[in-house]
Symmetry: C2
Subunit: 244 residues, 2 copies
């Protein structure tokens, strides 16, 4: 069973205050870039891995998707998602991505926003997604960038000469990273960028786009501290297509 | 015209002392990993972009290639390559990768070892390689890893608490990096990993493998300081296939 921080009351309360929680997709700085990697949504059967409050599920339907299945490990998230949704073509279901099992060729798009770095066995998950997609189906996701996750101490350092740097080490030491984020002891799984892409390729996906997200000038003007993401990317966005 | 450091007498003399110069491919720690990305060589028409002393050209022929064209900007390198080669199926030719022009569909494999980070316009080069390959042809290369090139000051730093870290910054500031390596003022071009892959995809290559090279336990036992490459990869190896 995957760790389920989102049902921790302290975490849930803190998470609810994020812009991306409060105002939805447009509160996430990387959303526009992720949206640009999506196929035309009309008539698609969509599964959202880690749907949270269901913002993307509702957006997908508004954009023309035929049906959307939102999966999350957090019961609290799903309750909130259900309460905010009036649409019989959107279903929510509790699911642990570490043991995910989906019907075969049942979807045209698998989407995931910032959830897959909680998955320990990425290879298994990618296999499950591949089976669940129809040939030509897309798998589009964001995760925390490996550079953000890798360091033994992932916090900016100011050097004696004034440089503010990201103290990279441990890049090739893949596996669990335990950090304190809203609550103590959040477990994420670091994989190198190469390992992530090679797993997708080996499982039968072709890589369509690899976006190491960076803020736009407008975003930097609005939130100056976001400019640090130019120095060290925080999000990795990947678009793939299931080979026949 | 690209910078041609290899014809600088001081550079040439210093470069000649490297293991990879003195003993050839097996003197390069990443060679085994790069070789593993190559297709079966039998009967292939091969072009080597930045052939240096011609070690790979000769290896390719021994491995069964039908013909090999070695290209380099350095006249001294080509003279040495020619002097070390007795094989009419290997040709050497002076070429500037920044303005490379090759015959159409004339090759089955384009190979390059640690040369393409000197190329300013990668997009143009990839287009030239794509045209030069037959459909299904492979493009396999190594470059300095973007993480190695990105920092404003690419040198390890020891922090107050004893951590030895790679001071990452400037990752999204693509473009020229001037460093001192054997001689002063060597110009390389930093591109993000995503940009490199997306250029290949946009130009009609499918990504087959992305290897952020790391040393093997045997290599670390033999050369302990090479273990730092586990903390920050130095080489990026990419294998692609030309789409029909």
């Amino acid at each position: 069973m995957a760790q389920n921080i989102y049902d921790d009351p302290a975490f849930f309360a803190a998470y609810a205050k994020f812009r991306r929680s409060a105002i939805g997709l447009d509160g996430a700085p990387e959303w526009a870039a992720l949206r640009a990697l999506l196929p035309p949504m009309a008539s698609l059967r969509v599964v959202d891995l880690g749907c949270g409050y269901g913002w993307f599920c509702r957006w997908a339907r508004e954009a023309g998707a035929a049906a959307v299945l939102g999966l999350d490990v957090s019961q609290k998230m799903l309750e909130r998602a259900q309460a905010d949704t009036q649409d019989a073509a959107i279903r929510y279901q509790r699911a642990d991505l570490d043991v995910l099992d989906l019907p075969e060729a049942a979807f045209d798009l698998a989407y995931s926003s910032l959830a897959l770095h909680y998955v320990e066995d990425f290879d298994r998950l990618v296999g499950a997604v591949h089976r669940a997609l129809a040939p030509g189906g897309r798998f589009v996701f964001s995760i925390e960038h490996p550079l953000f996750m890798a360091p033994s101490q992932p916090a900016w350092v100011t050097l004696g000469d004034g440089r503010k740097v990201w103290p990279l080490d441990s890049y090739h030491h893949e596996g669990a990273r335990t950090t304190d984020w809203l609550v103590k002891g959040v477990v994420k799984y670091h994989r190198t960028l190469g390992a992530t892409l090679n797993t997708l390729i080996r499982r039968g996906f072709s890589i369509r786009h690899v976006e190491e997200w960076s803020p736009t000038p407008d975003q930097i003007a609005a939130i100056p501290e976001i400019s640090q993401e130019l120095d060290r990317p925080i999000f990795l966005l990947v678009a793939t297509e299931r080979q026949a």
